[in-house]
Structures are given as C-alpha cells and as structure tokens.
C-alpha cells in the first residue's frame, strides 16, 4: 500500500508544475507601464518638420491651442502602425483631431508610409533621436495620448489602437469636448 503512495509522487510533482504555470498564465507579468503622466500637464518637448506641408508638433502649441488633440507616436518602420492606420482614419472621420510624431524616421520613408496607409494627421513632427518619446514617457511605438484643451494628458493608449479599442478612445475623446 505504501508503495502505491510512492508511485504517485511523479503525479504530485506534475500537479505542482501545473499550479505554478496556471498562476503565471492567469496573471501575466505586469509589464504595462502606467504612465505617470495621466492627469499631468504635457511635459515640454519639440519636434522638427519632417513632411512638407505639415507643421511640426510642440508641447507649447498643443497647450496654447485650447483644443483637445490625439497625439499619436508612430513610424514608417513600425509594423503594427500599419494596422492602426485605418482605425486612426476612422477616428478622424468621427471628428478626432490627430497630430503625429514620427520616431526616428526619415522624410522619404514617412511619405511612402502615408501614401500607402493614409494620412489622417493635421500635423506631423519628426523626433529623430527619441527625445520627445522619452519626455512623454512612451516606451515605444505605436503609442497615443489624448491631450485636453488645457494641455493636460487625459488618456494614454499603449500599442496600436485596434478596432476593439476604437470605442473607448472615442468615449475618452468625447469626454474632453
């Protein structure tokens, strides 16, 4: 009889393994960086002109405009940005005003990207060395911030805005109007 119990030990070890793994699957490592900037005024930053015909984006202008805006960090080399483009176009149609900041990008690549994927941006600034990105506390691209009329960051979306996020972004936008 006791022998039987010993034979169950491998099963027990396996059960422990499953328990640990289930825990980890259910509660993935919290890797979402909550920006400490929600509720804070825009940190100062500036970007350079990068696309002919579009003015660059600066924190000063965003604050002075007294209008809510969606600031979208993107790049021509960023693959999920391609997926995000149609959603941004749709948001634009719904009345959301979007400014873009192109991270570590070139004018030629950017123009091609906008030609291929659409251009819903009112203004686009180039952030050649990621200074603006760091100032905003963004961890990469794509990332978006909703800034209200007083220049305060009200909403932060990490990653591409996908169709399923559209409603939430629209709701947050409407709160700011």
């Amino acid at each position: 009889m006791t022998l039987r119990l010993w034979f169950a030990i491998p099963l027990l070890v396996f059960a422990l393994f499953v328990a640990a793994v289930l825990w980890r699957l259910a509660d993935p490592p919290s890797t979402i960086v909550e920006t400490r900037l929600v509720g804070q005024p825009l940190p100062p930053f500036a970007t350079a002109p990068i696309v002919p015909g579009k003015a660059p984006v600066t924190s000063a202008e965003l604050t002075a405009a007294r209008q809510p805006r969606l600031v979208n960090l993107f790049a021509s080399w960023c693959v999920p940005c391609i997926a995000e483009a149609p959603v941004l176009a749709d948001l634009r149609r719904q009345g959301v005003r979007i400014d873009g900041i192109a991270i570590r990008d070139t004018s030629a690549d950017l123009l091609k990207f906008l030609r291929d994927n659409g251009d819903g941006y009112d203004r686009i600034g180039g952030d050649a060395n990621g200074q603006a990105q760091i100032a905003l506390g963004a961890s990469g691209v794509p990332e978006s911030f909703l800034v209200d009329g007083g220049g305060v960051i009200r909403y932060h979306h990490v990653g591409a805005i996908m169709p399923q996020d559209r409603e939430q972004v629209l709701a947050e936008w409407r709160k700011l109007r």
Partner: protein, 149 residues
C-alpha cells in the same frame, strides 16, 4: 547480496526517491546565490540591491550619460527609471539596439560603491516587429511589453 523480487522493487523505488530528493537538494544548493534577481534603479536606491550577487538591472539608458572609455571597448552609462539612477560600466561590444533613451537590461553585479559592473547587455529586443494579423492580440499584447522583460 541478492534480493527477493519484492525487496528489489522497494529498493528501486527507494533509488527513484533518492534521485528526486537528490535533484531537489542539488537544485536548491545551486540556486542559492546563483540565481539572478531583477532590480530596477528604484530598488537599488531603496537598498534592495545585494552587493556581489548576480543581478539584472532594468531601465532606460539616460540620455547624455553614455561615455566611451579610452580603451575603445568599455562604456559607462546611467540606467534610470525616472526617480532613481544607477551608473553602469560595461566592457564589450554592445548590441546595435542599445542606444540612449532606449530600454536595456544589464546582467552583472553591483559593487560596493554603487557602480553596477555589467557582464552582458540585453538591449530591449523590440518585439513590435510582429506582423499585424488584423486584430492579432498577440502583437498588441507584445506592444505593451516594456523594459522589465
């Protein structure tokens, strides 16, 4: 010394148990002091960085902090997570993705003076180069991952 069949089975089971216990004990011995804890600069500032223990330091490379040393292969830089910073010294060829303002995980040890001596630099592998399979949750989830991994 021959054994009866029943005793032999008992013996073999005992051997298996020994194997299991042996493995566990050996593992425990090995893990103490050789597993590397992950620390952020804030952890170190709060005193949670053990001197001499293998550590992994994660954060962002502070812009303007990168200094190349005269030997041509060592660099000094500062890892920060906002409130706190840690100076790092690394001797080796850095991965191309390693840049100021970018994420980094440095493996090495903390020295008593507060300098982190790194043996290995893992530049944050930008996993966002993932095909956008229209609504692919995996790609979206990956875009949420940051420096701590």
């Amino acid at each position: 010394m021959t054994v009866t069949p029943k005793n032999q089975r008992l013996l073999l089971v005992a051997v298996a148990i020994v194997a299991l216990l042996g493995a566990a004990l050996l593992a425990m011995w090995g893990l103490s002091g050789k597993a590397a804890y992950f620390r952020t600069p804030q952890d170190i500032a709060a005193g949670r960085g053990e001197v001499g223990q293998p550590l992994r330091l994660g954060g962002m490379v502070k812009t303007g902090s990168l200094q190349k040393q005269p030997d041509g292969v060592s660099i000094r830089f500062v890892v920060t997570d906002g409130p706190a910073s840690v100076p790092v010294l690394f001797r080796g060829i850095v991965p191309d993705l390693f840049k100021e303002g970018g994420g980094v995980v440095a493996e090495g040890r903390l020295e008593r003076g507060g300098l982190f001596v790194a043996d290995n630099i893992l530049a944050k592998h930008d996993e966002r180069y993932m095909p956008p399979q229209m609504g692919n949750l995996a790609a979206e989830r990956k875009t949420r991952e940051t420096v701590s991994q």
